[in-house]
């Protein structure tokens, strides 16, 4: 079923929308959940939460890209679950790395909160626009899809060390931009 047809079902409050959505985007969202949670039960639960979250958001939302809409929800739910799971505990080594990498990009800002978040997001989008396509792909695969370094290494046919270095450089560049935009560490 096409995306607009699925969205139409949601807008009509037709419960088959959830089945259709699940059928079409299960594997897409499961990959994201799996990359974050690396646990079958947790991932499945997050996906169930995703479908119901979509149900509660459409309407009024009418997402232009349904896969990304679902992926974002899955990602956020998984982050919450991950944080809850490891609250006060040391996360698995697998996640400790990517969490640590992203922790470096958390900044504290003092200007108007909503405005700041919007502006910082614009900085991130601007940063992604400006960097090389390869760097962008590596960055997005790592921090949006949460791919492992090894998987990115295979995707780009470059060494693991090169991926790490590439990410390291990109993080530093972005951090400088974020700091200049109104944040402080």
């Amino acid at each position: 079923m096409k995306d607009d047809e699925i969205i139409k079902l949601f807008l009509e409050r037709n419960e088959s929308a959830i089945d259709e959505l699940s059928m079409k985007y299960h594997s897409y969202c499961y990959k994201i959940a799996w990359n974050l949670l690396t646990n079958k039960e947790d991932s499945e639960e997050c996906l169930n939460d995703t479908w119901f979250s979509v149900w509660s958001k459409i309407p009024p939302s009418n997402p232009p890209v349904l896969s990304h809409f679902c992926g974002r929800i899955t990602r956020n739910l998984c982050i919450d679950r991950l944080r809850k799971k490891f609250a006060g505990k040391r996360p698995d080594v697998h996640m400790a790395d990517v969490l640590g990498e992203m922790e470096q990009l958390n900044i504290t800002y003092t200007i108007d909160e909503q405005l700041a978040e919007k502006e910082l997001l614009e900085v991130i989008n601007g940063f992604l626009e400006k960097i090389k396509p390869e760097d962008r792909d590596i960055f997005v695969r790592r921090y949006w899809f949460m791919d492992s370094i090894d998987s990115i290494s295979k995707r780009h046919h470059i060494s693991v060390g090169s991926v790490k270095m590439n990410l390291y450089r990109s993080r530093k560049k972005l951090l400088k931009l974020l700091e200049k935009e109104g944040g402080c560490l």
């Binding site: 646990n39 956020n76 697998h94 990517v98 640590g100 910082l120 792909d137 060390g161 790490k164």
Partner: protein, 436 residues
């Protein structure tokens, strides 16, 4: 004060980037891609200081006068001017005049400082594309596909571009969008010695930032010879004897070292059992207290079990606000290094499962070891005795006795702040390499 939650906020990025990353990666995209950093920095400058500076001719003049040399731009604390060829050769294409200001070439690295400005209308080619452009939206890149050294193609594996301005300069004056200044870097494999006077055919591309996938806006070709003799002369080559590290998998024998002010490499015989199983790095300090890091790089051409550890350019600029080069000072008397190993990342198919429970996948960024050296979060307890710190991994901590050293100059970057993360394990004894 509120914390920006990057983990979550990154989920909101523009859909086009997600869509782009969903597709299979096409390697050919790596070709002809411009370096964007100037634009990013330009955006920062504009955001921070507004446009008033950009149209101020006095600022333009000041900016031109205050560009940094290649060495200064890259953060070399050690002088590399004697290795730098000042060319000042200009080419005009499509309404842009590019001046190749300085070039540094060494084995595996090419650095070029360029200045670009709109061509003088009187001399501009009449056939030039009349399309309006601004340097705020134009990027320059070394076209590694078409650049050659001694007629042989270079095989680029990494690149970078840097603004040759100090942070203070940028903060004070912003960035002039009527000119472009940049240091372009290409790291490459080259199967032969580049020789004393390598002939370089350097191709630069200027790209419209809004049309990255299209052909370059303008191409600039430069042919010149570089005096590499000075750098070769100042490069120390030393055969190493009795320099070995005993490990459970066998002996790592360091056989040669070469070093100059740009880079350093160590050749080592590594038993199959070791390099097949582990990632390796040599970490330590030189006798002047400079932190030093060598990464296991590649197999030496035509040699069996001969591997090269190389210092890395990449890590140098990313660990602190100010770049720190993790290379030994050529004037130091000796260097003390510790071999670190870690298991490589596990492949997905190697993930261990037990009743659907994930057990372990190691994935700690190797470079963070050295990042930790500079990371204030990892500063050692000042109550500890300065001459004795632990730097080993969690499973096999290794105590390092730091000797009192009157020669030490760079105490801020010394071993006392070194901490390895849990995944790296120090193996064997610390070795001392006599350099002088």
């Amino acid at each position: 004060m509120k914390k920006f939650d990057f983990f979550k906020e990154f989920g909101k990025i523009d859909s086009k980037y997600i869509h782009e990353a969903e597709d299979e990666w096409k390697a050919e995209k790596k070709i002809w891609i411009p370096k964007p950093w100037n634009k990013v920095a330009a955006a920062c400058a504009v955001l921070a200081f507004g446009f008033v500076f950009l149209s101020n001719p006095y600022v333009q003049a000041a900016m031109k006068n205050l560009t940094l040399s290649i060495g200064e731009t890259l953060g070399f604390s050690k002088e590399i001017e004697s290795y730098t060829d000042v060319l000042d050769a200009s080419k005009t294409e499509n309404g842009i005049t590019v001046t190749l200001k300085e070039v540094v070439v060494d084995d595996g690295v090419l650095l070029a400082k360029i200045h670009a400005q709109k061509a003088d209308l009187k001399t501009q080619d009449e056939t030039a594309d009349s399309k309006e452009f601004s340097f705020a939206n134009l990027n320059f890149d070394i076209d590694a596909q078409n650049s050659t050294i001694n007629g042989q193609k270079i095989e680029e594996y990494g690149s970078g571009s840097y603004l040759p301005y100090s942070v203070d300069e940028l903060m004070e004056n912003g960035l002039d969008e009527n000119v472009y200044d940049g240091v372009l870097e290409s790291r490459f494999h080259y199967p032969a010695e580049i020789g004393e006077n390598p002939k370089v055919h350097l191709v630069l591309g200027a790209y419209d930032g809004d049309e990255l996938e299209r052909n370059p806006f303008a191409i600039f070709q430069f042919d010149f010879s570089i005096s590499h003799a000075e750098l070769m002369k100042q490069t120390i080559h030393k055969e190493l004897t009795d320099t070995a590290i005993e490990t459970e998998e066998g002996t790592v024998k360091l056989t040669k070292i070469s070093m100059n002010k740009l880079q350093s490499s160590i050749t080592a015989e590594i038993p199959d059992e070791l390099y097949g199983k582990y990632e390796m790095e040599l970490l330590g300090t030189d006798s002047k207290g400079n932190p030093v890091r060598y990464e296991l790089s590649e197999l030496v051409e035509n040699e069996v079990n001969q591997w090269e550890f190389k210092t890395s350019f990449w890590g140098m600029y990313l660990m602190t606000e100010e770049p720190v080069l993790l290379i030994p000072d050529v004037a130091s008397e000796y260097m003390e290094l510790q071999l670190y190993i870690r298991e490589p990342y596990m492949l997905e198919e190697d993930i261990i499962w037990e009743d659907d429970t994930y057990i372990e996948v190691g994935e700690t960024a190797a470079e963070e070891i050295m990042a930790n050296i500079q990371d204030s979060d990892h500063e050692l307890d000042t109550d500890e005795q300065p001459e004795k710190q632990i730097i080993g991994g969690a499973t096999a901590s290794t105590e390092i006795m730091l000797e009192e050293n009157e020669e030490e100059e760079n105490t801020d970057m010394g071993e006392e702040s070194m901490l390895a993360d849990d995944s790296w394990i120090a193996v064997g004894d610390k070795i001392k390499i006599q350099l002088q």
